[in-house]
Each structure stands twice: as C-alpha cells, then as structure tokens.
C-alpha cells in the first residue's frame, strides 16, 4: 500500500504527462473532424464529469478511508448552485414559472459559478461533517447516505421554491455546447464543447493529485492505514478528516455542476442514492486508491452504458437468425454481471493502487503495460 514518491519528476512522470497531453490534443482534433452528434462526444463529456466525481469520491473512500455515501447529495448542491447562479435573467420568469421569476435576479459567468458550486457544496459538507465524521465505517456510510436524502428533500420543498424552483426542473443555463465558438450566422467555427469539460475535470483532478502528494495527502493515507497509529504520530484526526470531506465535496459539487451542464437541466429527483452507488462502483472498478483507475473506469463505464452495450437493448439479426434474449434492459443485466465479476474476482480493479507513471517504472514488479488513461 505504500506509495513511493520522489521529489524530482522522473522519466515515467514525463511520459505520463506526455500521454495526458496527447489525449487532450486527440480530443481537440476529433472534435473538429467528427460530426458533433457522434456518440463519442456524449461519452467523453459525461465521462469527464464522472471522472471528476469518481476521483473526488476516491479521495475520501480510497485515500482517507472514510466510507462516505453522500456524493449524490453534494453533487446536487453543486448542480443547483451552478444552475441558480447562471440562468440568464431574461429566462428566469419562464423557468421559475410558478414562483414569479424566482428570488435570484442576477447572472454569474460560468467559471465563478462553478467555483461557487464547489464552495457551497463544501460548506454543506463542513456542517454535515461536524457531527458525522465522529462515526466509524458503516455508521458513517449510513449517516452520509441519510444526509444526501435529506438534502434532496429540502431542495424539493415548495416553501423555498423561490430559490430552488421547488421540485421542478431548472434549465436554460449555459451548457457545454455554449463553449463552442460560433460565427455571426450561428455556424460553429471552433468546437470546444468536449475539450472544456476535459479541461475543467483535468484542472480539478490535477489539484486533487497535488493535494495527495502534499503532507496533508500523506496524513490522509496514514489515517486510512491505521487511525490510531496516525493519531499517535501527531496527526490531527478530526481536522484532516474534515479537510478530506470538504475537499471531496468541493470537487463533487463542481462535478455536479458539470453534470448539470451535460444534461442541460437539473432536478433534485435524479440525485438518488443509486447515483452514489454507481459512482462507488466506478471507483471500485478502477481500483480503490488509484486516481488513474477512477478516470479510466469512468470512461469505460460511461462508454459501456451509453454506447457500446446499447445494441443489447435492441433486437439484432445476424442473417435470418434473431439473437435471443436481446430486448430492453438486457444491457443492464450484462453490465451488472460484469460489475459483479470485477467485484468478486478482480478486487484490485483495473489499476489497484497504481497510477499512470507506475506503469513506466520498473520497481513495482507487477506493472504491466496498459493502454490509454489519464492522470
């Protein structure tokens, strides 16, 4: 479980940075060349969003050893904050149709709104963390799950509808497509709608990696490995747990805002515990304790569920032979069987605790060459 880090970047690190840079270039080029309606871009946008959320959850569950199931709640807070702050004033009467145009009557630019989304989520996390972080393992899991459900109910309450639009959809805020640079006649000159989510997620994940490599990050891992020993070593448990919890929620909030941008509408109803479970499964498939793993598995997970396995939901003919079993829902059955196989037989997930640079180092004996991925 030990993660050895050298102070100076070695060749493996540079190779990894090169790979990540190549991926960004590839995304940019693909976006200019392929038709924008291609399923690839749906996958990339949603994948980038999920990668950020999965890494933020990994920070808590994998690196700090705090088993929290509140991710969907913090994503909800982030998504709502973003949506509420960025809906154009002119659109508000239409969106807040039952609440006289709503309470907030200004519009923020996208990036500050994203940061606000993270901050508000972190504030919620701070308040929730005060009581619940004292709890141990599964009790913490249930308490955070409970809080996520409470947040969901509060945001749907009619009496604060002027702020949250009650339980109704929030929409008409800027989405990823608004990052495309358009000519005066509305035709797109430069496609950026996939690159931008990659950049946002990349910057955020980069910050998380930096944090993990700092002394705080090492404290997190010490807490995970042995709480009592960590305390004996002079690590302030409650402060570091709180820090990990708030940081994770901050990025989950930004992830929620990105999800809002991806779906182009937000509703509290969709941020259920099932969403948290889905993200947890992504983390597990990628490898608990590996940022690279979470990223790779997010893209695989989204690609499988949105694109590659879709054909399982439709009738397929090979010649005159109708493939049996294929109908609506079969995709999910296959998908869940794959997940169960990973959970039961490949507990290390795709990456275990290794990161991208580890694949190019000789020291970890088991390092095999794997394709793709980003750190």
């Amino acid at each position: 479980m030990t993660i050895i880090r050298k102070k100076k970047a070695d060749a493996a690190t540079w190779i990894s940075i090169g790979i990540v840079a190549l991926i960004y270039v590839a995304v940019f080029v693909a976006e200019q060349l392929l038709p924008p309606t291609h399923m690839l871009f749906t996958v990339l946008k949603k994948g980038a969003t999920y990668a950020l959320v999965a890494v933020s959850m990994n920070l808590l569950n994998g690196f700090t050893g705090l088993f929290s199931l509140g991710q969907a709640g913090f994503m909800l807070v982030g998504a709502y904050t973003y949506a509420i702050l960025t809906i154009p004033v002119a659109q508000r009467p239409a969106v807040y149709q039952y609440f006289d145009g709503g309470l907030v009557q200004f519009t923020m630019p996208v990036i500050p709104a994203l940061i606000c989304a993270g901050l508000i989520a972190a504030i919620f996390a701070f308040l929730i963390g005060l009581p619940v972080l004292r709890l141990k393992s599964d009790y913490l899991a249930i308490a955070t799950l409970g809080f996520a459900e409470i947040i969901r109910a509060v945001f749907q309450w009619k009496n604060i509808g002027a702020l949250t639009n009650g339980s109704n959809l929030l929409r008409a805020f800027p989405t990823f497509e608004d990052f495309n640079i358009r000519a005066a006649d509305g035709t797109v000159k430069l496609y950026l709608s996939t690159l931008v989510p990659f950049l946002i997620a990349g910057v955020c994940i980069g910050l998380i990696v930096l944090l993990l490599h700092s002394s705080h990050g090492r404290a997190f891992m010490a807490i995970r490995d042995d709480e009592i020993a960590a305390e004996a070593m002079g690590i302030n448990l409650s402060r570091h747990k709180q820090m990990a919890f708030c940081t994770s929620s901050f990025f989950a909030g930004i992830g929620g805002a990105m999800l809002a941008m991806y779906t182009a509408s937000v509703q509290a109803k969709s941020f259920t515990s099932a969403m948290t479970y889905e993200i947890l499964l992504i983390v597990v498939i990628g490898g608990i304790g590996s940022v690279t793993g979470s990223c790779i598995s997010s893209f695989l997970f989204v690609a499988c569920s949105e694109w590659w396995l879709r054909f399982l939901d439709q009738k397929q003919m090979i010649g005159d032979f109708e493939v049996p079993l294929l109908r609506n829902g079969f995709r999910l059955v296959v998908f869940s069987v794959i997940i169960m196989i990973v959970v039961l037989f490949f507990r290390q997930g795709i990456m275990g605790t290794r990161e991208l640079p580890d694949l190019f180092r000789k020291h970890p004996k088991k390092a095999k060459a794997a394709k793709g991925g980003k750190a």
Binding site: N61, F67, P131, V132, R134, L135, K136, S137, D138, Y139, A141, I142, A143, L145, G146, F147, E149, I150, R152, A153, V154, Q156, W157, K158, N159, S167, I228, S273, A274, Y277, L280, L281, V284, I288, R327, N328, G329, F330, L332, V333, F335, S336, V337, I339, M340, V343, L344, R347
Partner: protein
C-alpha cells in the same frame, strides 16, 4: 382529535410491521457478519415479483405462497454463497460493495424480466378485503400485519434462545473467530441467518404488496433503506430493537404525511406547510439524531475499539 389521528396511526402500525419483518433480516446479518446487506431490500422486491409470476402461471394461492417463501429463502442463501462467502477474509468495504453490486444486479434483472413496467400484485382473498375499526376503513392486511409480525418475532426469539442453531448464532455474533475455534460450522450458521432473514422478508413482501398493489424493480429500495434505518435505530444486532424501531419509523412516517392536516385541524397552522415532502427525509433525520446521540441505537450493545 383522536378521530383525526387514528387513521394515520393505523397505517403507521401496519407499515411499521412490514418494515419490521425486513429489518430483522438486516439486523441478524449485521449481528453476525458486520455487513450492511444492501441487497436485502431487493430480495424483498424479488419476492413480490415471484408472487406475480407464479400466480400468473396459474398456481393457486395455497401453492404459490409457500413456493414464494421457499424460493425467497433460497435466493437469500444463494446470494450469500455467491457474493459474500468468497469475500469473507476481505476488508469490510469490499463485502459492502459486493452487497451494493448484488442489489444493482437484482434490480436490473427484474427490470429486464418485467420490461421495467409495474406489475400488479395478485389479490389475496380475506387479507385484501376492507374492514372498519373505530370508524376508520382499511384493508384487512393492515390489521393482520402487526399481529403476524409479533407472532413471528416471538417465534424467532424462541428459536434463537432455545435451540442449538440459535445458540450457535448467538455465539457467532459475540465472537466470530472464537466460535469457529469451538467447532461451530460458521458457514452453516451464516446460511441459516440468511435463510431466516429472506424468509421473513418474503412474508413482509406478501403483506406489503397486498397493501400497495404494484411491484417494480425499485419497489424494494425505499422500504429496504427504511427498514435498515429501523434496525440501526433500535440498535443493530438486536431483534426486539429492530421491531420497535420499525414501528416507530412507520408511525412517524405516516404522521408526517398527515401532519399538515393534523396541525390545521388543531388550529396551530393556517395553511399547508408542505411537510409531506419530508416523509422520507424524516426517517433519515431520525437516524442521524440517534447515531449522534447514541450511536449504538436504543437497544444496542456498546462496542469498544480493539487496537
């Protein structure tokens, strides 16, 4: 005032009884394996779906009810053997994740089989009939549920306290490793626990779905979560605790749904506050309060950390 509150109490007690039957499964499994069996709510749902399909195949009720109960117990057994047993030495988080995976799989399987549509639960004569007590009309099942729940719980407590397998279960939940050394066949004890838990969930599902007549793949999620909260509330590992917790949660939930009307009738508020929105959230608020005030629940034993 009593006339206003009584119907809600009646519903609450009935719902509470159904939660209790599910909660026992959670609390027994947790007591022995220290595992939150997230799939338990889905076993409950699968029992409902089985009933729909078995009755649709033409089997009479006196055949289909026992068959459903046996199959449900069997499903519990199989889940344990396939998804939890291989992970016995793994960290607790892995086995909990496996439970989440099983829950996901069961839901998707049912989604596939039913096409994601609501299935109508067969009407069971007598318990689906209407009955009037103290001026409130309700279904017979509402009255039967708490009685049947109490009977089953008493039987279970007797089983645990006075039989050999019950003694083994108590031993295993006290100290997993020592009891293994003492020659108790751990795997058998765990299987029996799952069989009993699933059987009770099966009974619960018959009562629950006779009352709320449609089954869909997500039907088990909320009752499951609430039953789990009930188990924690009562002190996880304690069967009477789970039952008391379930009744409290059932009643609170029902009262919350009617609270606006009760308050208005009592003249305390002038308008509707929309409190029914919180009928689910209240359960979780209750959970958090108890976790913070008394983390081991109402009847739970104190657990000390071993270094």
């Amino acid at each position: 005032m009593f006339q206003t509150i009584f119907p809600y109490l009646l519903t609450g007690i009935s719902v509470g009884g159904q939660y209790a039957l599910i909660a026992i499964g959670y609390t027994m499994v947790y007591g022995i394996l220290r595992l939150i069996n997230f799939a338990h709510g889905d076993v409950f749902m699968v029992a409902g779906i089985l009933m729909v399909y078995i009755v649709a195949s033409g089997a009479p009720l006196y055949v289909s009810i026992p068959v459903v109960l046996i199959l449900t117990a069997l499903i519990g057994f199989v889940i344990e053997r396939v998804a939890y047993k291989p992970l016995r030495s793994a960290p607790r988080m892995s086995i909990m994740i496996s439970a989440i995976g099983v829950s996901y799989t069961l839901q998707n399987l049912v989604l596939y089989i039913t096409g994601g549509l609501n299935q109508f639960y067969p009407k069971i004569p007598f318990i689906s009939d209407s009955v009037t007590i103290f001026g409130a009309t309700t279904k017979m099942v509402t009255v039967i549920t708490p009685i049947l729940t109490i009977v089953l719980v008493v039987a279970l407590v007797l089983l645990i306290n006075h039989t050999k397998i019950g003694m083994a279960m108590r031993a295993v939940s006290k100290d997993f490793e020592t009891s293994q050394l003492m020659g108790i066949k751990i795997n058998n004890v765990i299987s029996v626990t799952f069989v009993i838990g699933s059987f009770l969930a099966g009974v619960g599902s018959i009562l629950y779905f006779s009352n709320y007549t449609t089954v869909i793949q997500t039907s088990g999620a909320m009752p499951g979560l609430k039953a789990f909260v009930a188990a924690v509330f009562g002190g996880i590992g304690s069967i009477p605790g789970a039952v008391v917790g379930a009744f409290i949660i059932g009643i609170c939930e029902s009262i919350i749904k009617g609270l606006d009307v009760i308050l208005m009738k009592a003249g305390l508020t002038k308008q509707m506050l929309g409190l029914a929105t919180f009928s689910d959230a209240f359960t979780f608020a209750l959970l958090i309060v108890i976790l913070i005030a008394k983390p081991t629940g109402l009847f739970g034993e104190k657990i000390t950390d071993k270094v």
